[in-house]
Amino acid sequence: MYTVGLFVPCYIDQFYPQVAISSLQLLEKLGCKVVVPLNQTCCGQPMANSGFASLSKGCDANFIQNFGELDYIVCPSGSCTLHIKEHLHSEQFPEKATLIQQRIYELTEFLTDVLKLTTFKGSFPHRVGLHNSCHGQRGLHLSSMSELVAPVFSKPADLLKRISGLELLLPERSDECCGFGGTFCVFEESVSVKMGKDRIREHEQNQVDIITGGDMSCLMHLEGILKRKKSPVRVMHIAEILNDGYE
């Protein structure tokens, strides 16, 4: 049995609790013992990507305090996982920081590479479009990338394909960025929204019911645009679909 620390990114904790609940329930259904350190906050990415990595020391220290003793850390966000992997830093406990960087997994990565989930009981009878978030894909290599001449694979798509009734549809540009980009979404509002609209258009052409992905931040941005135009298309984090679909 695996003991797993669940890292819940701050915006998921506050605005999308059901994503964290689904991740927790799914991991428990799959036989993991899930620990939720209750003093966790944020990975520090918002500051670092805005040019203020120097200000994320407090976040780093807090992260290490909460997750330093766990063998596996699982996070339902490719972006936050990547940030920890690339930038977690500690003058005081450098070894702990390195260990955490080796032990942290994005959720679909953990399901695929550690739990080696191959069979899936249950069903989810919907047309689902997959949005590959850039940090999960190009940063954590959760799937192959259209720019490279390399074999094609996708950890999240493979998981979704195992769910009976689920019809998986990829947009025409299978791995174009949605335009969220952290503070980019407000500082470069017009380009950000245009990028989101273009992603949505391709999913709508596929007549999907739901757009899913491994990063709620991308989905939050897409959801904001979908709701503004009163689209019937919904967004769901991949953890919610996997948890709903798993009996």
């Binding site: 964290a20 609940i21 209750l38 203020f52 020391k57 509002e189 380009v191 990028m195 503004r228």
Partner: protein
């Protein structure tokens, strides 16, 4: 406060149909690039070699530059060294004066754009004609190129037709590309014949031979250089490669990355002046040695100016080259330009979502998106970000380092969103809300839910 790039990008986006067209046109080039790359099973190996050769060259630049100079001199070429744009422009003007020439033709050279050679020479009364079709179009319009390979990609054929009607007297409203190209060809041919001096750029300079290689699709570099009495080739000093045998690695990558062609239509090798003629090479630093000294950014000098990073960039495609307000736009421009003027270009490293597609297409494997991230750190350390942004970040960092404060702040934020929506749902000061709805505020956070579960 929105940045210069953001403002210009917003203007670009005001015409959505045009933005779509720009995006789709460049995406089509990206797809051509993908198809071309996929015809070579050894593609990734080639990229690695190209990267290794460039890394090696940059580490031994001094020796290769001297070797190049020695061999070029032995070939009968005049070699000039320019420490900056001003010196580069002056050297060229001196050559012109000595030759007693007041009109020149120029084939595409991003370096001369970087050095603002055209306005410099024009002020001195020299007639400069850009002979690359796209460059000529933007020159007529007194605009800067918006793309390093496709300088007029921001224009549609209707715009070109209008421009040619105004400057070349073509039929008004005739948008036939063949008709327009033909008119340009006749016009340029005349300029080629009249001109005694031709300036070209350089794609590769080979230390071992002292020769240079110029890649074009229109043959205008050759036309110019062969017709003129004096050929001046201008190059940033990072164009050096050690040996002729390395060239094939780059020519195989360059056109495939740029336009999806197996090779550029013309790959011209210049070694020495023809009998009775003159050839000059100007080697330019202009900030390159400073960039070479920046450990995190030095390998941006590996760039071979293929523009693949432009074509793949989802931000570039939807903001246009002019939104980068510099000679070299796009992702690579955003890591080169802060070196030239950090303050004026402090906005550029932020004009990216850090999606990483640029680094993946780059034929010489520059870690572009990582350098964008690093420039952000440098720029804020230098105090070149908006003070209000810094305040906000400081506050956020303070909250997020204190779990109890974080829980309180989260609750407060959710309460405000749920109970005082007018505070949040405000298009004037909440850019998110301009074109997007806010996420719904749930009654309880995950942590609150979890604690209740634990208790029950």
């Amino acid at each position: 406060m929105s940045s210069r790039h953001a403002q210009l990008a917003e203007q670009f986006n005001a015409d959505e149909a045009r933005t779509n067209w720009h995006d789709q046109t460049l995406w089509w080039v990206r797809q051509k690039r993908d198809r071309a790359a996929n015809t070579l099973p050894e593609w990734e190996q080639l990229r690695q070699w190209a990267s290794d050769i460039k890394d090696h060259t940059l580490s031994n630049l001094h020796a290769y530059l001297l070797e190049f100079e020695k061999n070029a001199l032995a070939n009968g070429v005049f070699v000039h060294w320019a420490k900056d744009a001003e010196e580069h422009n002056r050297i060229i003007y001196d050559i012109l004066q000595k030759a007693g020439v007041d009109r020149i033709v120029k084939s595409k050279s991003m370096l001369t754009e970087e050095c603002h050679l055209n306005p410099y020479l024009q002020k001195k009364g020299i007639d400069v004609v850009d002979t690359d079709l796209g460059e000529r179009i933007v020159q007529f319009r007194e605009e800067a190129p918006s793309h390093i390979v496709l300088p007029a990609i921001h224009l549609k054929k209707e715009d070109v037709s209008d421009t040619f009607h105004e400057h070349l007297g073509t039929e008004k409203g005739n948008n036939d590309p063949q008709y327009l190209t033909h008119a340009a060809r006749l016009h340029l041919r005349e300029k080629f014949i009249q001109s005694d001096i031709a300036i070209t750029g350089v794609n590769f300079a080979i230390a071992e031979t002292g020769g240079i290689v110029v890649c074009t699709n229109e043959g205008n570099a050759d036309m110019g250089a062969h017709a003129a009495r004096v050929h001046i080739a201008c190059m940033g000093f990072e164009k050096i490669i050690p040996k002729a045998e390395h060239l094939g690695v780059f020519t195989r990558l360059l056109a495939r990355s740029a336009t999806g062609q197996p090779i550029t239509t013309y790959t011209s090798h210049f070694h020495r002046p023809a009998p009775g003629k003159e050839m000059h090479i100007v080697l330019v630093d202009n900030g390159r040695s400073r960039q070479l000294g920046r450990e995190d950014f030095r390998n941006s000098l590996k760039c071979i100016r293929c523009a693949a990073c432009f074509n793949t960039c989802p931000v570039y495609r939807r903001s246009g080259g002019h939104s980068y307000h510099t000679a070299v736009a796009g992702p690579i421009g955003s890591i080169l330009n802060p070196n030239l003027d950090m303050k004026a270009n402090a906005d550029l490293p932020f004009a990216s979502t850090l999606c990483g597609s640029c680094s993946n297409v780059c034929p010489v494997k520059i870690n572009i998106h990582e350098q964008l991230w690093k420039w952000r750190q440098v720029i804020s350390a230098e105090g070149l970000t908006d003070p209000s942004k810094k305040m906000g970040m400081k506050l956020m960092a303070w909250v997020l380092a204190r779990p109890a404060v974080y829980r309180f702040a989260g609750k407060a934020a959710r309460w405000v969103t749920a109970n005082l929506p007018f505070l949040v749902k405000n298009k004037t000061w909440n850019p998110w809300f301009k074109q997007r709805e806010m996420p719904e505020a749930p009654k309880q956070s995950f942590q609150e839910w979890y604690k209740k579960q634990q208790r029950s």
